[in-house]
């Protein structure tokens, strides 16, 4: 029998402890997914409401599409920015797996770059033209959304392929030029649908949360938004259960069994189910009444907790997949303590700086509103 080829681990020691890289990876990846869901889920929401808002009887849809149009480029900017950090940390821990799978689907993997640019410029174009509601704005947005859907598909292929070293050699021999997809893996399709549906669900929770804030300025519009978002959130979350079950059946049995056998994975899985069900209940209950209640905010918070738990679960399953090939605990470590401390200080400083700028913006908006108010 031929042994499964895996590129060797880098001879240089890891420049920091595994737990630190893991923690950073989970944090930045969760944020990346939140931003990605805002860009993709937001794109889909915007497109739907833009098309719906072209009829005069749906002024709120039109208004929502115009408001979201201004945010989409920023969502995508942060998807990319946070994605870079996730890519950096995942390379440290799993570089030899990720590089190989990336090479195997290399041509498509590289295509991600121009595709992101197309989607990004499309979002900008839409943000400039949406309000006028004429011309090809809707088409451009639809193209951007489709492109994002393609990018997500390429990512799912790569992220599943890196977990399956057993497929690599045959795939390389079949198409050494990088035109491969990992469709032989039955989990790719359910995983992809799970992610897309999840993006719509998560952004719906964000919208429900935003709708609560909008109610302060315009109660009717805010209520419309909260209730509509809550319904979509509930529907998508229900569908997400079915897709999740499909996904669990599609991944190899011994990997799925980890959820039962490994106490940590089991606990994370159980908690994520509890948190998502409670998020769904809270958002639905909170939004149904004539005056939506703050339960919606708590439901939104629980949705974010679910996201973190799901990302952690994904990580634990990745470890289970790669267990035969790598043991992170066995990697040599030589921590660059001084630089790590410097990074952490700058990280906090960077967040504070961004927070400070947002505070400046909020203060500016407040001054402007009070200056415009009738005396």
């Amino acid at each position: 029998m031929q042994t499964i080829p895996i590129p060797h681990v880098d001879p240089l020691p890891l420049p920091g402890p595994v737990w630190l890289f893991t923690a950073l990876l989970l944090v930045v990846f969760t944020l990346h997914v939140a931003a990605m869901n805002s860009a993709l889920g937001g794109g889909i929401w915007t497109l739907w409401n833009y098309l719906r808002g072209r009829h005069s009887e749906h002024p709120y849809s039109r208004r929502l599409a115009n408001e979201l149009a201004q945010l989409l480029p920023t969502f995508l900017a942060f998807t990319v920015t946070l994605g870079v950090a996730a890519l950096l940390f995942v390379q440290v821990l799993f570089g030899n797996f990720l590089y190989t799978s990336s090479i195997l689907i290399g041509s498509l993997w590289l295509a991600v770059i121009p595709l992101v640019m197309v989607a990004y410029y499309g979002f900008y174009y839409f943000s400039y033209t949406a309000e006028k509601g004429k011309g090809i704005a809707g088409c451009v947005l639809a193209i951007s959304v489709c492109v994002l859907l393609c990018i997500a598909f390429i990512f799912v292929n790569n992220m599943t392929l890196m977990l399956s070293p057993g497929r690599w050699l045959a795939m390389y021999r079949a198409h050494p030029n990088g035109w491969n997809l990992n469709l032989g893996d039955h989990s790719v399709i359910p995983r992809y649908l799970h992610i897309i549906n999840g993006a719509i669900a998560l952004f719906s929770a964000i919208l429900a949360h935003l709708g609560m804030r909008k109610m302060k300025a315009d109660a009717a519009y805010g209520r419309w938004l909260v209730q509509r978002a809550a319904l979509v959130f509930a529907a998508c979350t229900g569908l997400q259960f079915l897709l999740g079950m499909w996904l669990l059946l599609a991944i190899p049995r011994e990997i799925a069994m980890v959820l039962l056998r490994d106490p940590l994975a089991g606990a994370v899985f159980g908690l994520s189910l509890i948190s998502v069900i409670s998020a769904m209940l809270m958002i639905l209950l909170g939004s149904l009444s004539e005056k939506p209640s703050p339960l919606v905010h708590i439901g939104f918070g629980m949705t974010l907790v679910t996201l973190l738990l799901m990302v952690s679960l994904r990580y634990l399953l990745r470890l289970a997949y790669l267990k035969p090939y790598v043991s992170l605990g066995a990697l040599a470590v030589r921590s660059q303590i001084g630089v790590i401390v410097l990074f952490l200080i700058l990280f906090v400083g960077g967040l504070a700086t961004v927070g400070y700028m947002l505070w400046l913006v909020a203060r500016g908006a407040k001054t402007r509103v009070s200056a415009m108010a009738p005396r």
Partner: protein
């Protein structure tokens, strides 16, 4: 080729992202101090253009470089990541702040007070420059790892010998580009002259610092890189001339159309200016990459992603015993040779196309190709040593020879010289010239007749361990001998080569690039 283009465009835009941010915030403060509404309006328009270009193209193409290096040089990327992950993490923090600041700056002209808006602008510039600061450390490390080789200490790698000169040079380039891009949103009527002269001033300021910093940089790079830059290789010479030419042209345009006659600064002239800027960056990046050859990380990893420390084992055991991904089980045939080509040469060469091998190996037979692979690192000083055993070399040689049909000549008196020159190009020209400075043969063959020259051929392989065996068919050998004898006996003034070659580069100096390799082993 596409990858190189994306990389150059990224460098172009990302340097503008640093300099342009500085330009915007300084211009804004000038406009506000002078209460100049036209200039302020220019800043607003420019910031929108700036955000669209840097946030989208600049940022995404940067990610593109990440994707690309992981595909082309996973070993080197992994090595850089293991050494500098925290540097990249720090750079990412600055990048994150930079993106947030750029979005806010471009969007909040009307909503922020003038003071707050300028604060955001300064935050943007500091974050952008700091990300340049960090990346500059990693980039310069690849050519001059300095004391890191012994200590493997992060700070030694980061603040390596060329860190400072390169940082100054890159900052100067950023300032020049800020001026160049400043013309893109030039006001059509009112304020045109003021903005035009202002942008030209930026270009001049950057251009004054640039030559000094490059000279400083040049003095700190390894000897082999200095030799490349001194003009040993034609490609490098073109790039040096191109870089200097584009920069001078940009400055002339700035002086004439920017300062003297601002109304001449029309879109075609601005486009030309942008092309000059791109040419300047393209030449600079090409040179920076090229003078590092045959390394990707000097003294650690070769350009074909093979570690210097692995070469000896690969030569002893052969690739088939160590490689994970082979397309074929037959480790002697043509398919294996092609596979080896992809593994070991594919980072820089394709069969045809970019740095294509087809025309480079035209006229090689399998045995000659296998033999020359053994001496591949001696060719021009830009190739890494061949990392494989004899069987690997034979298989790869077979593949290289298969790229072209074997040469068949009908040698006559009329075409003998021409065919001889062709054979010389294929068999000798990769390492020698007759009358040039590049390992010249004139000394050995001056006053020799063709038949005397041909008598030496069978002994070539035994003459030096660096020479391949001579095995060309007899008619080619005759033509080659005729050519060498003819050229070596030309009066020296008839030969163009010495004027092409710079003074001071001779055989022994050319061999120096090989030295560090031997030290590592």
């Amino acid at each position: 080729m596409l990858i190189a283009l994306v990389a150059v465009l990224h460098v172009f835009v990302s340097h503008f992202a640093v300099g342009g941010g500085f330009f915007l915030v300084v211009t804004e403060s000038l406009a506000r101090r002078q209460n100049d509404a036209v200039l302020l309006d220019y800043c607003k328009r420019h910031s929108k253009f700036f955000a669209l270009l840097t946030l989208v193209f600049g940022a995404i193409s940067g990610v593109g470089i990440w994707f690309t290096i992981g595909l082309v040089s996973p070993e080197a990327t992994s090595s850089l990541i293991h050494t500098f992950v925290w540097a990249w993490a720090i750079e990412w923090v600055f990048f994150f702040v930079e993106i947030a600041a750029a979005i806010i700056y471009a969007k909040s002209w009307d909503s922020l007070s003038s003071r707050d808006h300028q604060i955001v602008g300064w935050i943007y510039f500091v974050a952008a420059w700091m990300s340049l600061f960090v990346i500059n450390g990693i980039l310069t490390f690849m050519l001059t790892p300095g004391r890191w080789i012994e200590t493997q200490n992060f700070w030694d790698g980061m603040f390596n010998p060329t860190f400072l000169p390169s940082l100054v040079a890159r900052t100067a380039v950023s300032v020049i580009l800020a001026g160049i891009f400043g013309y893109i949103t030039l006001p059509r009527n009112e304020g045109r002259e003021k903005v035009s002269r202002w942008a030209a001033m930026w270009m001049m300021a950057g251009a004054m610092v640039l030559p000094l910093s490059l000279w400083w940089y040049f003095s700190r790079i390894p000897l082999f890189s200095q030799l490349y830059l001194n003009g040993v290789l034609i490609g490098v010479r073109h790039a040096v001339r191109g870089g200097v030419g584009f920069t001078l042209m940009a400055l002339v345009i700035a002086l004439v159309c920017g300062v003297w006659k601002p109304r001449w600064m029309r879109p075609p002239v601005v486009a030309l200016l942008v092309v000059c800027g791109l040419g300047m960056i393209g030449a600079g990046e090409y040179l920076r990459e090229f003078v590092r050859k045959p390394w990707v990380i000097n003294q650690v990893i070769y350009a074909n992603d093979i570690r210097a420390a692995q070469v000896e084992a690969l030569q002893a055991k052969g690739v088939s015993h160590t490689a994970n991904f082979l397309l074929t089980g037959d480790t002697a045939g043509l398919a294996y040779g092609e596979n080896l080509f992809q593994l070991q040469c594919g980072s820089c060469h394709a069969a045809s196309g970019y740095r294509g091998m087809r025309h480079r190996v035209d006229g090689w037979d399998a045995a000659f190709a296998a033999d020359i692979l053994q001496h591949i690192h001696m060719l021009r000083g830009t190739m890494p040593p061949y990392a494989g055993d004899e069987q690997d070399r034979k298989a790869l040689g077979q593949y290289l020879a298969s790229l072209n049909p074997a040469w068949q000549f009908n040698v006559t008196d009329a075409n003998r010289l021409e065919i001889g020159e062709k054979v010389f190009g294929a068999r000798c020209g990769h390492c020698h010239t007759v009358n040039g400075n590049f390992r010249p043969l004139r000394g050995a063959f001056e006053k020799e007749t063709p038949s005397q020259v041909q008598e030496i051929f069978p002994a070539l392989g035994a003459m030096s361990s660096n020479m391949p065996e001579f095995n060309a068919p007899d008619d080619q050998a005759q033509a080659l001998a005729f050519y060498i004898s003819h050229e070596a006996n030309l009066p020296i003034s008839h030969t163009a080569a010495p004027t092409e070659m710079p003074t001071g580069s001779n055989h022994s100096q050319l061999l120096r690039p090989a030295e560090p390799r031997q030290e590592v082993r």
